[in-house]
Amino acid sequence: MKALRFERNIPRFAAATIASRLGGSGAKVGPLRLRSIDAPKLPGSDWVEILPRLSGICGSDLATINAQSTRYFEPIVSFPFVPGHEIVADLREPVGDIPAGRVVVEPVLGCIARGISPACAACERGDLGNCERIAFGSLEPGLQTGFCCSTGGGWSTRMVAHVSQLHAVPESWTDEAAVMVEPTACAVHGALIADVTEGDLVVVLGSGTLGLLTIAALRRFGRPCTILAVAKHPHQRELAVEFGADIVVSPNELTRAVRRASNSLALGDGDIIRLTGGADHVIDCVGSQDSITEALGVVRPKGRITLVGMPGHVSVDLTGLWQREITLSGSYAYGTETLPDGSRRRTFDLAFELVEAADLGRLVTAVYPLSSHEQAIAHASASGVRGAVRIAFDLRDEKERNRA
Amino acid sequence: MSNATPSRMPITRKQATKLIRKLPVNRSVGNSVVRRGGSIGRIVKTLLTEPTVPNGVKVLAKESKVGANYDTDWARSYPARAARVLLVEGLVRPVIDILATPTVYGDDRLTDIEGPVVFAANHHSHIDTPLMLSVIPEPWRHHLFIGAAADYFFGNQITSTLSALVIGAIPIERTKVTRNSADQAAVLLDDGWSMLIFPEGGRSPDGWGQQFRGGAAYLSLRCNVPVVPVHLEGTGKVLRKGKNVPRLHPTSVTFGKPIMPNEGEDSRHLAIRIEEAVAALADESATDWWQARRRAAAGETPSLHGPEAGSWRRSWSLDDRKRTRKGKRNWPEV
């Protein structure tokens, strides 16, 4: 079968690092290569083979391809792996409650998928993303499908999934809508974990997929609040407004806008050196050194910063965090959420609801076949500039997929 | 002269000279004898020696060529003016800037006047003149002459020449308004030259002012030009009367509102007005303009002359007067 595979190849890894540092893309020279490989074997009895239809390209994928992610992941991924964790696929035969047809994969590989019993405390609570056993059990290490050599990933024509990972897709939905469920779940998790109280000023940094989805999630599931979004490009600006942002500003206008929205004073004679107050919450959907610095600059004392975007090695001055008693927290993946009304729901269920309500399928701007992966990656890397939101691989027309 | 008369007694020149020197007669005769057949040096000496005056003849008072009578016209020729501009701008001003670092106040009061004026300033020090030369604004600065004490600045040919060239001085009698000096000044004022004069007639002996004399007022009335009162502060600290070595001390120069002579005013009255104006400027310099105006309006402007008291009390009441002026505020770039 055809697959894009990420291999452990030190020279290519180095080449990708250098290429991305030089402003290019690691796709050409990096450790990601289009290969013909054997389809993964079923690791256990509750596993089924599925045939990906669409598989999105996520920010963390790009970081991996450009070799910009940290070595943190080394012990919790297993090489060689096929990336792709935003997946809508075909299930040939019904399994459990899931009828045959299209399914969305919830990629976290927790205790249940790994056949570990009893499950760890986190899985027990339903916080699948926090599973403590992601390198153990019947599978090779891998925090999610798409980072594990046992399961395969979405950027190929065949892969395997545990029954517990599957969510059936309603008939009426497009594949594009379905492929947006996984990133939407991340955003819903981020929006709810931030625990926004009513009337708060929430700054959402970044208006890529994650930022836009977070805005939509805050509006739909969070308590009423003022959302101040930062958008660089015109189409992002429009979508941010549509999804419910009250104020949308350019990145260089952020500090002044937060000052006004939070009625804060500022140090500096007209030019702002530092705000004295700031936003109650900052949800950072970028996760870079600059965005974290910015977040620390606009959050109020005792405020909270939630990192939804994946950071990495960053160098930031934490004096303000200390002096202003700021909470800096992360938000990874999904599991079970507590809604403002106290009810508990699966994040994926909420994501399904939001995708439908906000018609998020339209965020998939372009799809590419596997063979055009270089162009696909390049488009995804420059999505904002090129007026795109989400780029995905289209596997529906791959020949071998349609063979038996 | 020849020795051709044969009837004379044969006598050598040496004998004759000896003989003459013994005789109780007019030496000049002897001289003439001595000079006979003399060298060029002697001729020159003769030319330079004045003739004696016979008794019984009334000697006419000789007009002095220096002092009040020194003719300074040449100092207003173009080469002399050019030299003066160079001297003032190239030498006097830089030296004064270092020595006296003058701060100028009130020069805006001169904006409306055109043509020649008389600058009347108080006088503490020899520094005053060069200081004024470097702070009087254009166009007056290089079209200026100075009334300088005839006896002091025009005492002999050398000081006269230097005074006329460097500071553009004309000689003025300290004690009286004399025809000659006044005429000279009036002609120049009519000609469009402005004048700097120290109406006190001399430097202050103790730091306090002296009474203003009538020269400035007289000229103002005669030529119908405004008088600009000027107050100098701190020049006494740079070089006071009796000292020869200057020391660094900041000074301030305050120009007053030009005073126009009133219809039918006499020069004594105008002189008093000028003195009052300078006194008000002194007050302004010591306190501020508003207090000075109020005191002037109430007739309470402190006199320039200081208290009528013993010398120690007079110097005791001379306090240190200083004002400061802050710089421009620096903006972030415009």
Partner: protein, 531 residues
Amino acid sequence: MPRPGFVLDVDRSTPPILFHHGEGFRLERLPAGRSRVIYPSEPIEALKNPDAAIRDALVNPIGDSEPLTALLKPGMKLTIAFDDISLPLPPMKRPDIRQRVIEAVLDLAAAAGVDDVMLIAALALHRRMTEAELRHAVGDRVYDAFAPDGRLINHDAEDPDNLLYIGSTEQGEEVEINKRAADSDLIIYVNINLVSMDGGWKSTATGLASYRSLRHHHNVRTMQHSKSFMDQHKSELHSANWRMGKVLRDSGIKVFQIETTMNNNVFGTEGPMSVLQKREWEWSLKDRVTMAGMKTALDLMPSRTKRSIFQGWQAPHAMTSVQAGEVEAVHKLTTENVYKQHLVQVEGQTDILTMGLPYISPYNVNSILNPILVACLGLGYFFNLYRGKPPVREGGVVIMSHPTPWEFHPVHHPSYIDFFEQVLSVTTDPLRIEAEFEKSFAEDEWYRHLYRTSYAYHGVHPFYMWYWCSHALQHVGEVIIVGGDVRAVRRLGFKPASTLQDALEMASDVVGRDATITHLHNPPILMADVS
């Protein structure tokens, strides 16, 4: 004898016409046969002896007023208020008119034995004046005498302890002014009447007022009903101020108004700048060389250098009249004297109005002409410099020339930055802006802090700039800026054009191909008397 202003019909032998263009110039050929240029009058004669004229005006007042000498009494409380840095434009050479008048007034006050004197820069919601600017306005003598012990101050429209509510007009407009001024036995207002908008009751009722009071006439409705605000008889702005003046007078506040006018000798008659004051066909070889040289040099200079050169220019304009006494009588005469310099008879309207915007407006002395001020200078001030009707027809097009850089002076205009970024990005409709945003800017603590302690315009000031444009925005069909920063021009809601030819082409979509054109050859300032 100065030649009066006139209207030139552009023909094929008309040389290129000078357009001011920020810190630079453009020479533009206007289409022959359908264009006209309104030229200002040459500078009218100045007073020979201004100080004597001032003294004379003080002792021979106009209207129902005693001579100043009789109004000044020992023991009285006297407040002298004076116009701020926004007047005159550009700043004049020393001595400033205000210095002359204030010194003359203080001379009389000193003679009368008045002890309690306070000087207030009547700056309303403008930025505070710096020491250097105050020194320039009132002179060093007055500054040194009054400033050190706090008797020369900037008005503070946000100091609750120093404002006094006087009452309200029949129409419910609240009148609140500086308390010290209101408590005084006499307010002497020292005015410079650069344009016909200035002066009269606007001096006290606006210059010394608070935001609470100003909002009643600094709003969109008033500005849309002031046609124009330069013509006090057709200006709602002035009616409101006059109503407030009546409240002041009825409450017993005594104002002795001193108004001065000046000629428009802005660039002098000698030196390189003088070419800007000459008519193009009269440019000598020297003038043409100077213009070419200036243009080339300015093109090469970085904008900071250009700005500091232009902002350093002090105009030689001189006083042409001074009148003192009762406010309304004084202002009547003042306005006549202003008109003597500014009014130019113009016949009828045209389809297009073009103007070259210079580097300075009332609100960017020693500062930057930011995009909002560009709009206000063109559509607020220049557009409104008319009597009768605007020189451009309703639905016509205004073409302005200015580089319109996306630049702000952070110290002077902090709220302008936010207005541009956060308000104009949402809407450019003055009514919506007023309804949705004004309050939050006006009551913002930080702007208030900067206005009171630093040198910032009040938080609400950019709104007023936009309201100033509202009459023009309502009247014209399209606004085009030639040579401006494209993004900034779009943010203002206008259309950018790179050349005048392009702009005229774009205008033809609105007003047709054979549109008639009027060019306002301003500065020096002129006011079109359109019949």
